[in-house]
């Protein structure tokens, strides 16, 4: 309560709000500086140099690009295409008036969003047990793409569902009033608009798949099929040096950072 006596009292000098903010800001800088000093002091700079050994980094070439990055991209782009197509299909099913379609879509989405990706990949190894005589086309590539596609589909379906629902109902009504069938209206009017809406979350989803492609390791792949993470790890073991892992990490960023930039550009357009 502001009684007139408190302001009149010659108590300890109160800080103005602006001074108070300045002080708090100052304290934050001091804490940050102290943390940096602490790290610099306790880091063993000699052994840190082990992480950036140019000679070891050189040994990752050219396989880093011709095998590991290539495979990472094949796995994640393949998985992404599957998730895009089937994600759209599941989203349409989830929004369908046909109840069993909604059930199927919901069950699928709940299962594959709820399971750890690792578990899905480990389980894929046992696929021949469940379906004797069935071969996934494309061998290791096929199996890896299937694994990533199974998981990605669930997430992409939710992304598409949100995007489809964000298109105003009036759009469908206008299309229908022009004589378009429900399918025709979806494909000419609603889906093209939904795709624009989902560009940013879809990019994030692709980055997630790119990172999950490291789980292909659990399919027990032979050397021609290694992707970036396993490749980095393998070369690191051979050389007893962590540099290849740093190189592999940088290679991921080489893809993900421009991708994020591109997505922001696409989002701004129109």
């Amino acid at each position: 309560m502001t009684s007139p006596t408190t302001t009149a009292e010659p108590g300890p000098a109160r800080l103005s709000p602006r001074k108070k903010r300045q002080l708090i800001r100052g304290v934050q800088y001091v804490v940050l500086g102290a943390a940096a000093l602490f790290l610099a002091f306790y880091t063993d700079w000699k052994s840190l140099a082990l992480f950036v050994q140019p000679e070891v980094a050189e040994k990752t070439l050219p396989d880093l690009f011709t095998i590991a990055l290539k495979n990472t991209i094949i796995y994640s782009v393949g998985g992404f295409i599957l998730s895009f197509v089937f994600g759209l299909l599941l989203a349409l099913m989830k929004l369908s008036e046909v109840r069993p379609y909604r059930w199927i879509a919901n069950i699928y989405i709940e299962i594959f969003r709820g399971l750890p990706a690792l578990l899905v990949f480990v389980l894929l190894n046992f696929l021949p047990l469940a379906l004797p005589g069935f071969e996934v086309p494309g061998g290791t590539y096929g199996l890896a793409i299937l694994g990533l596609g199974l998981i990605g589909t669930a997430y992409q379906a939710e992304i598409f569902r949100a995007g489809l629902q964000a298109v105003p109902k009036g759009q469908t009504e206008a299309a229908r009033s022009l004589g378009m069938s429900p399918m025709r209206a979806q494909f000419t009017v609603v889906i093209p608009q939904a795709i624009r809406i989902v560009i940013p979350p879809t990019t994030n989803q692709f980055v997630a798949l790119l990172k999950d492609s490291s789980l292909v390791l659990f399919l027990g792949v032979s050397s021609g099929f290694v992707e970036l993470a396993k490749f980095g790890n393998d070369v690191a073991s051979e050389n007893a040096n962590p540099t290849p892992i740093m190189v592999a990490g940088l290679t991921y960023l080489l893809v993900t950072i421009p991708l994020g930039y591109l997505a922001r550009r696409l989002e701004k357009r129109r």
């Binding site: 105003p168 009036g170 759009q171 009504e173 206008a174 299309a175 229908r176 009033s177 022009l178 004589g179 378009m180 069938s181 025709r184 000419t188 009017v189 093209p192 608009q193 624009r196 129109r270």
Partner: protein, 248 residues
């Protein structure tokens, strides 16, 4: 000769909300009929039942003598020739004005791109925005957007046009452009069912005015009668409020 629109004992409920409670009326070919009434009286619902954007709960709708509410009716085919213009325009934002007017011609009437473009340009010229063909809806004013929407409907060669408060979302100075286009259509003999609050338009252009309240038709007759000399108290109260909004 068949009625352009014939509605018989039309009921529509949303859950327990009985929005239309037994509507009977007809529109003859070439007639302009304006529907007026307070907010929530079911005007939009009635209009949307005419082209079956809403499925009636009970009753029949005939367009040019064909029963749309019949189980065997091809609704998509019927809608091709029933133009509809919405309060919020509902243009396709990812297409230019020209493409908005072309797309249904191509996809529904299966016209070739060339023919569709010729028809689209003709109709955009007709509504006075032939110079805006390459603009996207977001680059157009409300009045321009609504005229593109009218052109889009006209390009399908409709025998009948439905308008749901086509000028209600417009800035006052843009209302005239849209009404002028509608007036021209009426003069050309287009059959029109128009939900509107523009009493001037209803008085001058309509052959008949229908006053709705509480999901039923209260009054139906020539504008001179329904607007000029209303028989029912409810109509008088409504008209008084619309014509003298400042006294309340």
């Amino acid at each position: 000769m068949n009625h352009a629109i014939e509605v018989r004992d039309l009921h529509k409920s949303f859950g327990s909300n009985k929005v239309l409670q037994g509507i009977d009326f007809t529109v003859e070919p070439g007639q302009v009929v304006c529907v007026i009434g307070p907010s929530g009286s079911g005007k939009s619902t009635l209009l949307r039942c005419v082209n079956l954007l809403e499925m009636p709960t009970q009753g029949k709708v005939f367009i040019n003598g064909v029963e749309l509410t019949h189980l065997d009716a091809d609704i998509d085919a019927a809608r091709r020739h029933i133009g509809m213009v919405f309060q919020q325009f509902n243009l396709f934002p990812h297409m230019t004005a020209l493409k908005n007017v072309m797309i249904a011609q191509q996809r529904v009437l299966k016209r070739g791109a060339q023919e569709a473009e010729i028809v689209a340009r003709e109709n955009l010229n007709k509504v006075g925005i032939g110079d805006k063909c390459d603009s996207y809806p977001a680059q157009l004013s409300g009045g321009q957007q609504q005229r593109v929407a009218i052109a889009r409907a006209l390009a399908m060669n409709p025998t009948l046009m439905l308008f749901d408060e086509p000028t209600s979302a417009l800035d006052p100075e843009l209302v005239g452009d849209v009404l002028t286009v509608m007036r021209k259509l009426a003069e050309e003999g287009m059959t029109m069912l128009v939900v509107t609050h523009e009493m001037g338009f209803a008085r001058e252009v309509a052959d008949r005015v229908v006053f709705m309240d509480g999901g039923v038709i209260v009054e139906d007759g020539p504008p001179a009668q329904v607007i000029g000399d209303p028989q029912h108290e409810r109509t008088r109260t409504f008209l008084h409020r619309v014509l003298h909004p400042e006294e309340r």
